[in-house]
């Protein structure tokens, strides 16, 4: 996994609540057996005017000019501002894969769905939860000023706005450590292999029917 330390990047506001993973990456793209290349199909149904299929070249497809990601001023954005319950629905990790492949490294919103939230950390994408008033404010400023950039510092747990003001955010210490170092979860867990084996043996003795 790519480590995440700091990011100074353009933000783009996606002003919708309950954005589900079907919207983030429609189901036809789930047929892929790879984990990369989903970026061009991120928000496919909102982003393009035609229907997208896997394996299709996207550069020539008609774009929806009203969709925020297609606006010239937001090209190159790496921070996505979101509303309530972003990432609800299916557990597909294709959603964070698509966001990451498109270039997003940070999501800022009021709440994220559990499984999606978890999946982001596994893919070097940092989801940041802020109070509603602060998210509102970011939306307002980002929409008002072209070229609105934020600086995110994971070690310090801060988001710094263009005017120099800073807000802090919470993150689980364990997740933070993993993300800062780009650690692979599996490697970390296997350090406890003896403990796992011991647990397993005890459980097998007590509840053999779970091991049939």
């Amino acid at each position: 996994m790519k480590p995440f330390t700091t990011l100074d990047a353009l933000a783009v506001p996606l002003d919708r609540a309950n954005v589900d993973t079907d919207a983030i990456i429609p189901k036809q793209f789930l047929k892929s057996i790879k984990r990369s290349g989903f970026g061009p199909n991120l928000f496919d149904e909102w982003r393009y005017l035609d229907h997208g299929e896997p394996g299709q070249e996207c550069s020539g497809r008609p774009k929806n000019p009203d969709f925020v990601l297609n606006k010239a001023r937001y090209q190159g954005a790496q921070i996505l501002l979101t509303r309530d319950n972003f990432g609800c629905g299916s557990s597909r990790e294709h959603a964070p894969w698509a966001l990451e492949d498109y270039g997003f490294r940070v999501l800022i919103g009021t709440s994220f769905a559990d499984i999606f939230f978890n999946n982001c950390f596994k893919n070097g994408v940092l989801p940041i939860v802020l109070p509603a008033a602060q998210v509102d404010e970011l939306f307002r400023r980002c929409e008002a000023a072209e070229g609105y950039r934020l600086v995110v510092d994971l070690a310090a747990q801060t988001v710094t706005r263009p005017d120099g003001t800073t807000v802090t955010f919470d993150v689980d210490p364990f997740r933070k450590e993993c993300l800062l170092n780009g650690w692979d979860d599996i490697g970390l867990t296997l350090r406890h292999a003896d403990k796992i084996r011991a647990f397993e043996e005890k459980r097998r003795a007590e509840h053999p029917y779970y091991f049939a």
Partner: protein, 469 residues
Amino acid sequence: MEAQTLYEKLWSSHVVHQEADGTALIYIDRHLVHEVTSPQAFEGLKLAGRKPWRVSSIVATADHNTPTDHWERGIEDPVSRQQVETLDANIREVGALAYFPFRDSRQGIVHVIGPENGVTLPGMTVVCGDSHTSTHGAFACLAHGIGTSEVEHVMATQCLLQKKSKTMLVKVDGKLGRGVYAKDIALAVIGRIGTAGGTGYAIEFGGSAIRALTMEGRMTLCNMAIEAGARAGLVGVDDITVDYLRDKAFAPKGELFDKAAAYWRTLKSDDGARFDRVVELDAAEILPQVTWGTSPEMVETVAGRVPDPARISDPVKREGVERALKYMGLAPDTPISEIPVDQVFIGSCTNSRIEDLREAAAVAKGRKKAASVKRVLVVPGSGLVKQQAETEGLDKIFIEAGFEWREPGCSMCLAMNADRLEPGEHCASTSNRNFEGRQGAGGRTHLVSPAMAAAAAVSGRFVDVRELS
């Protein structure tokens, strides 16, 4: 000892190791695998030169991409076929406790085959790369959906990194009225707490109305817990649970069953256990539910009307309702009973078990599909459900009513196979998600119970199923 909730019991019996911040390594008893979320995990495992920790924890099936008719032709869509064949090859190479491949007589939706084969047992931790894994919580399992990285993690380590959830009790007391089912409870709960209401919680369903539900009904309810934002749903063990599991293929037998059952019966919340949040509903007040929008919380009773955004003061909410009504092609204040139905889908891991099919058949019996309804698909959840339904003659009832009787699979729940809606079509669906495009690009989904779906099929619009019987 302090009174414990069921969730706390399940959690504490699976902690292998705990980090200082509370992140815990949780041991996983059962790993259900399907073709969509596993290929990248198997590949990752192979690339890292790792072997699965415990192959006997794996039970696999192909369900999302499989067609529901003309099985003799195989899978015609090459991309779908490749995904299913990739699973075949991975299981051949790695192994599993059981694999129910495409066309196997026990193949079916992963959340239907687990319980009916007894591979889901009370007290287990159950994971699957699929959000509706919450279904298995009906058996007092700690069961939840995981992403593909976690699928790989569980394969490699038999553990999952987890933080403890908060607990919510949804208590439904009283008696459900005629024509009201577990699906209506689920939608009523989501209508009450919202799709993010359960975020961060494990929801336990309790109360006399839940105790009265069959295992099928409890699975329907836990299945939809994720639609309320909760990763896990739970119901405590009682006689109904134990009786269901007796004689299931992979459940323990004889003395071992009795020993297991004695332990399973302790798997319920203690009297006086404290929950972080309690939500109470009166079963008698729940009416048949129909969703009108693009999120399961956009739900009304069949006697209701779709909302008028002009009457909503919160601007974010108002915009959400406006957008949903536009997508659904509905004018503000339209009575639910005036929404025309183009297709009907009876199936999915929410409502494709034998009891669901019985409820739909009871309404379809002696009636005919309305002429205005283009197609009614009845898709059993598994090969075993299909066989049972045919033994009971339900297939004939459906076929006589002009419904289509199909092979098992996910089908039009998410339309990864050929079963899908055309743009603009309204569908009465027993599935769990009414998101934009879920059942086909531009398709408009209305979530209902199996009985309500059958009633819509014979009426061409949403009608109160109680008026038909």
